[in-house]
Symmetry: C2
DNA sequence: AAATAATGTATGTTATAATGTACGAAACGA
DNA sequence: TCGTTTCGTACATTATAACATACATTATTT
C-alpha cells in the first residue's frame, strides 16, 4: 500500500498546477505557510487534520478530493513486495496481499502456519465474515465451540464476530487464503 | 464553523463506544498509542494524516466516516458569533455567515463597505459565479471592463472567474449579501 | 546585459503531535 | 476487605509539523 501522504502529495500538486496557482497563492488562500505546502507536495510531511482542512477550504475542494487515490485498473502484487506479519513466534505468518481499502469492504491475506502453529483471534465487528480456502496442509478452526478440520482443497465460511482460533493440526506446512468481509 | 478536530473527536468516541472497544484495544488495532487516541477523542490533538489513516484502517472504516459532520436540520447563526474578516484597512468587512462546506458548493457572506472602501478580487476558479444583493447604500462593481452601479435593492450575478472589484461609490455605508458558487 | 520580480527550496526555530511510563478510579473476584 | 484487573488520564520525553526568514533559480522587463 502506497503511503497515504504520498497520495495527498500527488493530488495537491496536480490540483495546484491544474489551477495554475503558485505555492504562495495557495498559502494565501488557505492560511498555511508556503513552506508547508511545498513540503506536503514533496511528500516530506504528513500534515495535521486542521492543516488539511485549511487547504481543502482554501481551494474550495472536498477533503476527499485531496486524499482519493485513483486506483489503476490493474495492479500486480509480487510476493517479494508483500511484507510478512509474524504471529505466534513466527510460526503463524500473514501476508497482506490486499489490505483493507475503504472503497472495498474486504481484505485478503495469504497465511502460512508451521506445524503446531496457532492463533487465537478475538471477535471482529458485528457481521464480519471470513472465507478461508486451504491450499496446502491441514487446518483446524474452532469457532462457536465447534471444531472444523480442513484438508488441502477444503474451504470454510463462518461469522467472525466471535472469538475463533486457527491451528495447524497436520504434520506439514499449512498455506491458506483468507478473506475478511466487513459489513458497512 | 465548528473546529474540524472536534468533529473527529466526537465521531471517533462514538464509534469506539458503539463497538465497545477500549482505548487500549483501538490502540492495538491501529498501531497508534492509546494516549494519542484519548487525546484525539478529547479534542486535544489535531492528528496527522498518517495517524488518521492508521485509525481508519484499524477500525476498518472509511476516512470520511471519521470526519463527516452530521449537520443538524436547522442552525441559527447569531451576528455576534460571526467573526469579521477586515480588508482595505477595515473599510471593507466580510462576515462569513455560511462559509464553504464541501457538502454544498457555495458560500455566503454579508459584506459592509465604508464610504470609499474598495476591494480588488483576483479571478476565482473557472466557472465560479457570484450573486450579490445590495441591502444598504450603493455599490459599483467592475468586471470585464464594465462598470455596474447598484443601488439599494439592486442585485447582480456575474462570472467571477476573472478579476473584479467592489467599490462603495455612495456617501453612506453599503451592506450587501454575497454568495459565491463553485462548480464541481 | 543588468535589474527586477516571481517561484520553489533550504535553514533554523517554535509549537505540538506522538509515544512510553506511571498513576488513580472504577469493576471484579477471592 | 484486600488484591487483581481494566480503563482512562496525567506527566515527561522525543519526533516532527508548522512557520518565518533567507537563498537560489528562472522569467520578465527595462
Amino acid at each position: 500500500m502506497e503511503e497515504i501522504h504520498l497520495i495527498l502529495a500527488r493530488n495537491l500538486k496536480a490540483i495546484r498546477e491544474k489551477e495554475k496557482l503558485s505555492l504562495e497563492k495557495v498559502s494565501q488562500l488557505s492560511g498555511v505557510s508556503k513552506t508547508m505546502i511545498g513540503q506536503i507536495e514533496r511528500g516530506e510531511s504528513s500534515p495535521t487534520l486542521t492543516t488539511i482542512w485549511k487547504i481543502a477550504n482554501g481551494l474550495k475542494i472536498s477533503f476527499t478530493t485531496l486524499i482519493n487515490n485513483p486506483q489503476p485498473d490493474t495492479k500486480v502484487i509480487l510476493r517479494d513486495e508483500v511484507q510478512v506479519l509474524p504471529e505466534d513466534n513466527g510460526k503463524y505468518r500473514v501476508y497482506p496481499y490486499f489490505p483493507f481499502q475503504d472503497d472495498c469492504r474486504f481484505e485478503m491475506y495469504t497465511v502460512e502456519i508451521d506445524k503446531d502453529g496457532k492463533l487465537k483471534a478475538d471477535a471482529h465487528r458485528e457481521g464480519t465474515e471470513e472465507f478461508i480456502t486451504v491450499f496446502e496442509g491441514e487446518l483446524t478452526i474452532c469457532v462457536n465451540d465447534s471444531e472444523y478440520c480442513l484438508k488441502k482443497g477444503d474451504a470454510i465460511r463462518f461469522k467472525a464476530d466471535r472469538p475463533h482460533t486457527y491451528f495447524n493440526s497436520g504434520e506439514t506446512l499449512t498455506k491458506l487464503s483468507m478473506t475478511i468481509y466487513y459489513p458497512s
